[in-house]
Symmetry: none
Subunit: 280 residues, 2 copies
């Protein structure tokens, strides 16, 4: 969350040539940077000492020393939930499976938190609050997340839908207005049906919030606001599996922030809802 690595990654777009290599090296080997001197880093990233100090200052730090200190802090947090092994082997026990799976899920939430930009979330919440109608779009396992979001936002009195059918999504999209907001959920960021709906929505002047993996994808390029989730895949854990928990966490954050915005009003809505549904 507004961490050093996030700032570095963000800077890649506007960084000067001499500083680019430094940024890239930092993203690739942050733990090395922490124990390097400016001189060493300058050599390793074919830059100059002065460029590095300037770069650190441009990111808002006092200098390289301050930068390293903050980075050390962030890395400790990132490593916090990272201690358990990540992959399973044929002879692992149930105990291992419980630990590894739970830790992967925890780590997924944690890593994604590092990628979140307060301002983006704030903007997304503003859109959602002002929206007359919200459409949540997702295909496959992302549809379940869309449904979850729909259930939540309905509970606080928002008009919103999540269609399981692609054609219904499209039908809904062509009838959007500039007062509406869509939330497009696609981990890969390349799901064609979602991209199609986003384009239709934008032709109707609706705002688009995307939730997708941390990368340059067609979806993130199109969206007005992109909220990233981190995920590591392996043979047993598909992309969808790893990202799902982190994506749900994003939904929780958006929902909580919206609910929070009008504290008293929300409590009323929730109370009303609670009286109808006692349990599930």
């Amino acid at each position: 969350m507004n961490g050093v690595l996030y700032k570095v990654r963000e800077s890649l777009e506007s960084v000067k040539a001499a500083e680019r290599a430094v940024a890239e090296f930092t993203l690739k080997h942050p733990e090395k940077v922490v124990s390097m001197t400016v001189k060493e880093l300058a050599q390793r990233s074919f830059s100059s000492v002065a460029a590095i100090v300037r770069y650190c200052k441009s990111l808002g730090y006092e200098g390289f020393k301050d930068f390293k200190l903050k980075l050390a802090g962030d890395l400790t947090v990132i490593n916090l939930h990272n201690r358990a092994k990540e992959t399973l082997h044929p002879d692992d026990s149930i105990k291992d499976i419980i630990a590894v799976t739970s830790n992967n899920n925890i780590q997924s939430i944690n890593d994604s938190m590092q990628l979140m930009n307060e301002n983006d979330i704030q903007d997304a919440v503003q859109y959602l609050l002002q929206a007359k109608k919200i459409d949540f779009y997702g295909i496959g396992s992302s549809y379940l997340i869309a449904s979850d979001a729909m259930q939540k936002f309905t509970r606080i009195g928002k008009i919103c839908t999540a269609y399981s059918d692609y054609h219904m999504q499209k039908v809904s999209a062509v009838n959007l207005t500039s007062n509406d907001v869509i939330v497009a959920i696609s981990y890969s960021g390349i799901t064609q049906q979602i991209i199609d709906c986003v384009k239709i929505a934008q032709s109707r002047c609706s705002k688009v919030i995307a939730i997708t993996k941390y990368a340059d994808t067609p979806l993130s390029k199109l969206a007005d606001i992109t909220i990233f989730v981190a995920a590591k895949e392996n043979a047993f854990r598909s992309a969808a599996m790893t990202s799902r928990i982190a994506t749900l966490n994003v939904i929780d954050i958006l929902y909580t922030a919206c609910a929070h915005h009008n504290y008293a009003d929300t409590l009323l809505h929730l109370k009303r809802t609670h009286q109808i549904i006692h349990n599930d």
Copy 2:
């Protein structure tokens, strides 16, 4: 815990006079130490530069620089946990909301892990592996979890279903056999529709695995195996919201354990599935 501050506190017993003041100052104002130079710290704690470097080395660090870096890391973690209050207040910022929500979700997984019984999980996995057919039952937000489970187990070639409609659930239940297994998902453990289906399933001699909150509920009393999830509720976080992530983690564990049981076979199934669905 082998953090810097822990070591410093431990050192108080055996520390030399000149270093004692340094240790005490560090314990009192660790966040200040991080941004101080050896010289400054020497003055503030009425010690000498050399004494401080020696002290850092005696604690096992390379020197003062290393000591500061490690301390910075620890402090970030400590701040993180301090910020992780559990409830939100009207004047909380987006940053607070991100931290609180994410931490609640992480906590939820963590707490539930503590409640899990290896043997129960192992037995549940055995049932699932031997099942001819698996029915996942859930109402409302629990239905989304049931669907998620269904999607996962389908990917490894299991015959399974999750019905959104109560009547279809019942229809499915009356046609179960002793070779089948149902997974009943209800956080409250008192959802009448789910209880009904469980009773029908048991009259057909099917095995029942329940996933529910940690308490004596009608559901946990009926089930053959109960897997518990922990959850703390408050005005903004309904039971369903807090428990959902933990319940999904249970599904992940069951799925992973089943998938893991036949390592080679599973990889084959997943590969096949992957070729069909590229992205979601």
